[in-house]
Amino acid sequence: MSLAPRQDVADAAPKSIADRLLRWESILVVLLIAVIVGNTAISPYFLDIYNLSDATYNFSEKAIVALAMALLILVREIDLSVAAIIALASLAIGLAAQAGAGLPVLLLIGPLVGAACGAFNGFLVTRIALPSIVVTIGTMSLFRGLAQVVLGDQAITQYPKNLTAIGQSYLIKWPPLPYSFVIFLALAVIFAVVLHKTALGRKLYAIGNNPVAARFSGIPVDRIRFMLFVLTGLLAGLAAVLLTARIGSTRPNIALGWELEIITAVILGGVSIAGGSGTIPGVVLAVFILGLATFGLSLVNVPGIVISVLLGLLLIVSIALPIVVRRLMQKRPAG
């Protein structure tokens, strides 16, 4: 892989109004407004506060993992095994519940197993110097495979009431906010502050732009990469707790295919797959766009697989359109 810098790191915020309007986040805000207006037009039930709060159930868990995935992609890595980690962590929660463990153990074991899986990924990527896409294709099979070996064609469905209450009730009664959504919002704020306001955040951009130069500047590149894999695993484990509590069962195919949905959200959020550029507000906006579009379309009974066509189109068109527009604008003065 080429190690030349791919993006310019801006030293200061964009200056003119035109610069601000052309930022990716501004385009996403317009998209989000379009999604909300469109959904309100096609269904009178969309803007109901309880409906909207239920909608957050369906994307909060993925959104939590997307925050960590954004940082990984920012430093030119990727983790395709997140959904498999969720399966393995959910299995651990299930086995602990069967053994009669109390609520604190059930809440802790998911993130712990997730962090261990992430550490395994991070070890292979940073110590043995393997490309992360290949490593995580392998661990994706391994982690879900282990869950499949233990579960076979069975499911664990016996969960204590105090665990399922976390997944199925509101943390705040009015406005009705589920636990998972509040956790996502809190994490999003923390991630945004760390990435955009601290030295550590700047280091992540430096690594994503040019890992070699970053290393020569004294940034512990591999240690940071390793920690990001652990963090991604940890948040996947947390998502597993919330998901298991919400649906109250653990099957081998739990969260199947989520890795692609999570990566789609991160890319739509403006994080460059080549590394070195992207923002947390962008990812949060993308999560809302995808989540609300899915929810709105399912309200009017559009089948899930058709929604995935529209979201796939949204991803490609939203990435392709700015490129086409820029080309046309460049051609005009020349021609």
């Binding site: 292979l124 393997l130 490309p131 392998g138 879900r144 070996v149 692609l260 995935s308």
Partner: protein, 347 residues
């Protein structure tokens, strides 16, 4: 820059046995497969029969072909995540033609499947080559779109074996020398791929582009047409496999081959295709696919539950990348090692 063996020229140095095997990955992989088959056959003699070997080859042929297409894409530093969705959509359209006109010659069904695959591949290729969108982003999108189009087109209905007609279904069941037409088609595709990659200017260009795009550009090799070509080839192969898959298993619906794209990439990785581009051989990709095929077919013979299959293939993929990484050391090139040595000596 990354230094690695590009397999363009042979290595004439004499080496130790172990490093020889590491350098000649295909040989090492064949040896491992032979050892594995021998081991399984000692445990379960039923595995060593000709019938079983034929069934392993027939089962693995589709994976082999897809791995060849995927390898060409990976050679140019790309990736095609949409192959399985392409396969499902092409298979569906072909089956749907058979449902409406069951008496057409089989070549018509195959042609429709390949043409569909080609068009889908061209869509991927155009987005990558002309708009410069990263391949993983494009094919992540088309992965969802192609599979979803099956439902948009067919309204979620499936085409069953009874509706496809005999012409459509009998073709892959015809055998020559005990091996099905699927195997022989795979053999033709493999030979064509080998001739293309080793004998033609364009084929060698793929290695050049993947090995060092900048140097390739200075040599007059343009990246964009190469990308358009590899995604079209991968798409056409997926289309062909779409027909073969649907006619072999006798059902077409939206979920066929779901997630198979990762098995295809895994076969390439096991076969020594470098995800960083520029490294990979036809023999390697075929052996990688065969390796996975042997494992899948050996589990029932060994009386291991099929639930182990996924975990084992995960371990195999990881082992393969670790071994391959030892063969191609990754690191930053020191431009003037002599200068540093001199500086060290001065102190």
């Amino acid at each position: 820059m990354v230094s690695r063996d590009n397999r363009i020229g042979g290595d004439r140095r004499t080496e130790g046995c172990m490093s020889f095997l590491l350098k000649h990955r295909e040989l090492a992989l064949s040896l491992i497969i032979v050892l594995m088959v021998t081991g399984i056959s000692i445990y379960a003699p039923a595995f060593a029969t000709f019938e079983n070997a034929a069934s392993v080859l027939n089962d693995t042929s589709i994976l082999c072909m897809l791995a060849l297409g995927q390898m060409m894409v990976i050679l140019t530093r790309g990736i095609d995540l949409s192959v399985a969705s392409n396969l499902a959509l092409s298979g569906m359209l072909s089956a749907s033609l058979a449902q409406n006109y069951p008496d057409l010659p089989v070549i018509a069904f195959i042609a429709v499947a390949i043409a569909t695959g080609l068009v889908l591949g061209l869509i991927n290729g155009s987005l990558v080559a002309w708009l410069g969108i990263p391949p993983i982003v494009v094919t992540l999108g088309t992965l969802a779109i192609f599979r979803g189009m099956i439902v948009v087109y067919g309204g979620g209905n499936q085409v069953n074996a009874s509706e496809m007609g005999d012409v459509f279904q009998s073709f892959p069941k015809v055998t020559f020398f005990g091996l099905s037409t699927i195997f022989w088609i795979m053999a033709v595709v493999a030979i064509a791929a080998w001739l293309f990659l080793s004998m033609t200017r364009v084929g060698r260009g793929l290695y050049a582009v993947g090995g060092n795009p900048v140097a390739a550009r200075y040599c007059g090799i343009d990246l964009a047409p190469q990308q358009l070509l590899v995604y079209s080839v991968a798409g056409s192969i997926s289309g062909l496999c779409g027909y073969l898959w649907v006619s072999r298993y006798g059902v077409a619906y939206s979920e066929i081959a779901s997630g198979f794209e990762l098995t295809v990439i895994a076969a390439c990785v096991i076969g020594g295709v470098s995800i960083a581009g520029g490294v990979g051989t036809v023999a390697g990709a075929l052996l990688g696919a065969l390796f996975l095929g042997v494992i899948v077919n050996a589990l029932p013979v060994m009386q291991i539950t099929p639930f182990w299959q996924m975990a084992i293939s995960g371990i195999v993929i990881l082992a393969a990348v670790v071994v391959n990484a030892r063969a191609e050391k990754r690191g930053v090139k020191l431009i003037l090692p002599e200068a540093r040595l001199a500086a060290g000596a001065a102190k």
